[in-house]
Symmetry: C2
Subunit: 156 residues, 2 copies
Amino acid sequence: MRLTRAGEYGIRCVLHLARHGRGTLVSRKEIAARTDVPPHFLAKIAQQLAKAGIIEIMQGANGGYRLLTDPSEISLLAVIEAIIGGISLNDCVGRPESCHNSALCTVHRVWNKANQQLRATLQETNFATLAAEEACCLTPFPEAGGHNPLQRKKMI
Amino acid sequence: MRLTRAGEYGIRCVLHLARHGRGTLVSRKEIAARTDVPPHFLAKIAQQLAKAGIIEIMQGANGGYRLLTDPSEISLLAVIEAIIGGISLNDCVGRPESCHNSALCTVHRVWNKANQQLRATLQETNFATLAAEEACCLTPFPEAGGHNPLQRKKMI
DNA sequence: TCGATATAAGACTAAATATATCTTATATAT
DNA sequence: ATATATAAGATATATTTAGTCTTATATCGA
C-alpha cells in the first residue's frame, strides 16, 4: 500500500466537505483552492469518491460536491480505498493466486496480519473526528487566511 | 509504504540464506536461481543488505553471501527497511516538516499510529520462524525440484 | 604469477505508475 | 439561449521501479 498524492487529495477533499457538514454543496473551485489540489485533478478524484458513494456531484451552474452521509460514518479507509483501490501491502495479500501456496506460507501470513491491522486502524477513524480538530493539510476552518502550499517531494 | 519487488527479493534472499543458517556461504548464482531473482538485480539488493549489516559479501572465486547473525535475530522489518528505506505510510510521518503543523494534526496522528503498528508487526517476525515453515516464494528447502516462476503484475 | 571465476559499482535502458493538463461534451440555473 | 459548472476521456510529463550492461576488483588454485 502506498498513499499516493491522489489519496492524500481525496482525504483533503472529504475533510473539507466534512467541515461544512453532510449535504452542503461546495464548488470544486473552492475545494481545490482551499485544499491546494489542482482543479482538474480534483475532478477525477471526486468522480472516484462519487462512484464509491461517498459524495454526490452536482453539475451545471452552481454545481459542486456534497457529502452523501454524515462525516461520522465516513472512515479514512473508505476514502483511501475509493481512490487507490484495496489496500494490500504485498502482492500475495491482494492476489493469493500470485504464489503457488500462500495458504501455507509464513511470509504471507505476516503480511496478512499487518494488512488487517492497517485497515482496522484506518477504519476506526471517521471524518467527524478528523474535522473536529486542526489538520495540517488544510487552511483552518472556516475562513481564516493563510494559504498552505504543501511541500512536494518523496511521497513514499 | 509499499513493498517493492526489490523488497520482496530481499526477503527471499535472506530467507534462503536463513535456511542454510548463519555463516554458510551461498553463491549469488544459487540464490538467484532458487529465489527466481535476476542475478544482477540480486547483486544490488545484496549490497544494501550488506550495508545494513545483515549479510556479508565474499568476493572472488567461490564467493557469495552469508548471514552475519542468527536468523532469529533478523526481523522482517530490518530486511525491508534495508531495501526500501524507512517505512512511512504518508509523507508527514517520515518528514513532519512537510506540513506546517503535524504535531496538532489529527490526520497525521492516525498515520503515525498505523505506521507504528505496521513496523511493530514486521519487527516481531524473525527469519528463524519464517525459515522453519513453508514459504510460497521459494522452492522447498533444501533440494527438492520444482521451480516457481512467480507471476508478475500489479505489485501495489 | 597468471588465468578463471566471482562479486562490486555505477551507468544505462525500459517499463510502469503517478501526476497532472487539455479538449470536447453535457448538465443546470437564470 | 447563454453563462457557468462539472463529466469524461485523451494526452503529456515526471518520477519511480525494474532490469541490464560494462568495467573494475577480489580471490582461488594451478
